[in-house]
C-alpha cells in the first residue's frame, strides 16, 4: 500500500489530534469519525489525548455553570456598598 493511500485511510497522530480538537467545533464526516475511531483504538497516546480533551471540556462546562467553584465571596464591606447603592437608587426612583 502506498504511503499516501495509507494516510488516506489511517490518520497520523498529528491528524488525529487536530480532529480531536476540531470536533468540539464542527461535526466530523462519517468517514472522518471512523478514521479517528480506528486511530484512537490502536493508539494509546491519542486515546489519552482525546480523554484529556474531554476532561477539560467537561471541567470547563462545570466551571461555566458557575456552580462548581463557590469558595469565593464578596467582602462584607463591598456588599454593603452595593446594598447602599441599590437603596439610594430605589429612593431616587420613588422621590
Amino acid at each position: 500500500m502506498s504511503t499516501s493511500l495509507f494516510h488516506k485511510i489511517f490518520y497520523t497522530c498529528k491528524d488525529a489530534s487536530i480532529k480531536v480538537l476540531k470536533k468540539d467545533h464542527k461535526k466530523l464526516s462519517i468517514f472522518g469519525k471512523i478514521r479517528l475511531k480506528i486511530h484512537v483504538w490502536v493508539c494509546g497516546e491519542c486515546d489519552e489525548f482525546e480523554k484529556q480533551n474531554e476532561l477539560i471540556n467537561e471541567g470547563l462546562k462545570i466551571i461555566g455553570n458557575g456552580s462548581a467553584i463557590n469558595g469565593h465571596a464578596i467582602p462584607e464591606q463591598k456588599k454593603k456598598e452595593m446594598a447602599d447603592m441599590i437603596a439610594s437608587f430605589q429612593d431616587s426612583v420613588k422621590s
Binding site: 476540531k22 489519552e48 480523554k51 466551571i63 461555566g64 464578596i74 452595593m82 446594598a83 441599590i86 437608587f89
Partner: protein, 189 residues
C-alpha cells in the same frame, strides 16, 4: 407565573453566586466585584423591562453575561501587548515530528481519574487557575466558546475575527490550557 423583582434582596441572595460566575470567567477578584456591581446597577435601570418570565437570578445572570461579553470584546479589540506577542506560542507543531508524538510531549496517562476529577473541587480549581494563566486574544474567544457556549459565528462577529483566525486562537488556547494542566494535574500513573 409572573415574578416580581426585589432589588433590596439582590445583594444577600445573588451577589456571591454572580461573583463566582464572573470570577470563573475573569479570574480577577476586583474586576469580578465591579462587574457584579455594574450588573446590579444595570438591573435597577432596566427594572421596567423585566417581564417576569424568568427568575430574578436568571435575569440578573443574563445581564452579567452581557457585561462579561462586553469586557471580552474590549480586551480583544485592544491593541496587543508586545510582551504577549513575543511570548512563545504553543501550536500543534510543537507536539509532533513527521506526524508522530515527540517523546516528552506524549499525553500522560490520566484516564483512571476521569470521573473522580470532575467531582473534585481541587481539579476544577486547578483548571480555573490554568484558565487564568492563558493569555492572548484567544483566551476571550475560548471562554466564550467553552464557558458561555456561544457558537463560533457569534464569537467571530463579536470579536471581529475570521473563522480561520478563530480556529487558530481556540486550538492554541486549548493546547496552552492542556499544557498547564499536564504540568499541574495530569501525571503519569
Amino acid at each position: 407565573m409572573t415574578r416580581l423583582l426585589n432589588p433590596q434582596n439582590w445583594v444577600h441572595k445573588y451577589s456571591d453566586y454572580l461573583f463566582n460566575f464572573a470570577y470563573a470567567r475573569l479570574n480577577n477578584t476586583e474586576l469580578a466585584e465591579d462587574i457584579v456591581q455594574e450588573t446590579f446597577l444595570a438591573g435597577l435601570k432596566a427594572q421596567k423591562n423585566f417581564e417576569g418570565r424568568s427568575t430574578e437570578k436568571t435575569w440578573l445572570t443574563s445581564i452579567l453575561k452581557n457585561k462579561i461579553i462586553d469586557h471580552y470584546r474590549k480586551v480583544t479589540l485592544k491593541p496587543s501587548d508586545p510582551k504577549e506577542t513575543t511570548r512563545r506560542e504553543i501550536t500543534i507543531e510543537n507536539f509532533f515530528h513527521e506526524g508522530d508524538w515527540i517523546g516528552p510531549k506524549r499525553p500522560k496517562s490520566s484516564s483512571p481519574q476521569f470521573e473522580k476529577d470532575l467531582r473534585n473541587e481541587e481539579f476544577l480549581t486547578t483548571l480555573l487557575n490554568c484558565l487564568g494563566k492563558v493569555k492572548g486574544k484567544g483566551a476571550e474567544a475560548f471562554k466564550m466558546k467553552y464557558l458561555d457556549e456561544l457558537d463560533s459565528e457569534e464569537i467571530c462577529s463579536l470579536l471581529q475575527i475570521t473563522p480561520s483566525n478563530y480556529w487558530v486562537l481556540i486550538h492554541r488556547t486549548k493546547l496552552q490550557l492542556r499544557d498547564c494542566l499536564e504540568k499541574t494535574w495530569l501525571k503519569d500513573e
